[in-house]
Amino acid sequence: MSDEPIISWKVAGVALGLLLTLATFLVSPLGVSTQFVVTDAMVTHQIAPQFAEANAYLAKYGEKENWGIGYGWMLVFGMLVGGGVTAALLRSRQPEQDQGSMPPMWQARFGPSRMKRFTAAFAGGALLLFGARLAGGCTSGHMISGISQLALSSFIFGVTTFAVAILVARFLYRKNASSEVVS
């Protein structure tokens, strides 16, 4: 079995660029992170409507008359369906190292604890969306769509994000650290 993804970066990159062009032609560019707020707003409007309305950020979405399910939310919902169906059909062709919930690279560095991996994943996810909402977008909205539109803010986001992520990855996988693992 090949170690490489099912389609090459060339095919995936061209397909994604064309999809972005199509989306920009039909409705608007690709974006994901706003929909996490929309989903939060839907839930809080159900559980604690007064709290949701008092919150300047959540009040914008998720009202009873207008749940906020638009093009953007359906796009993210589509990712869940399209990704899930494709994965179900082609799982056998996915490189073995990329399957499952415990990445081998992570395990070699941080050990086999599922608790540790899932805690890091949750914390990482919280930072992702806090950062994305502060910056106004994420990898798809800012980096792919924003830089393609030559937006100044997206160039700033792209450079900062990559610089910090590379430094953090370097720190997490620093050379003398592999001996710390107790497994």
Binding site: G124, S145, L150, V164
Partner: protein, 176 residues
């Protein structure tokens, strides 16, 4: 066709591409961030190369529905830095954690739940951050076209060629 249906179909294709291209792979994401395996950055550069050309060609005919994000410098830098930490720690971004969760990866599902929590925390902090980081130094929804006063297509063509050249001919994987 209704925009909800269009959104759903575009999302399906987006999710499939991310899965098939290996963007939901921790190994590939961290490989790129550790500057060893360039698959993901080459994928992104190619997508932006094709996308920038496509969008500015559409724009020539007035057919592009662009959506430019405002350049509030401090918020974008601070948000980008926080995002970068989350990216390296989880190995996912907001889009790939959705697709990873759909594959049945539990670490992606935890990232997704964390992301919903992070968005909620941001909504609590929004009033403070708004006056601290979002309002000051806001240059508005500017593009390089506005800044340089050059037609977008004349910027997009060389930009696109440069990114594709970088992806196809310059970047090479480095294994130790």
């Amino acid at each position: 066709m209704n925009t909800l249906v269009i959104g759903f179909l575009i999302g399906c294709a987006f999710g499939a591409i991310l899965f098939l291209g290996g963007a939901t792979s921790y190994r590939k994401i961290l490989g790129t961030l550790r500057l060893r395996d360039m698959t993901i950055i080459k994928l992104m550069l190619t997508a932006i190369g094709v996308g920038s050309l496509g969008i500015y060609l559409l724009d020539l005919g007035g057919l592009a529905h662009m959506s430019i994000k405002p350049a509030y410098i401090w918020g974008v830098i601070a948000g980008g830095a926080i995002f970068g930490i989350g990216w390296a720690v989880s190995g996912y971004c907001p889009g790939t954690c959705v697709v990873g969760a759909s594959e049945g990866k539990l670490d992606a599902l935890f990232t997704l739940l964390g992301a919903l929590f992070g968005a909620f925390l941001f909504s609590l902090a929004f009033p403070v951050l708004d006056s601290l980081l979002l309002q000051p130094a806001n240059l508005g929804k500017v593009t390089l076209e506005d800044l340089l006063g050059i037609d977008g297509i004349y910027l997009a063509i060389p930009f696109s060629l440069a990114l594709l050249y970088l992806a196809f001919f310059v970047l090479k994987d480095r294994y130790e």
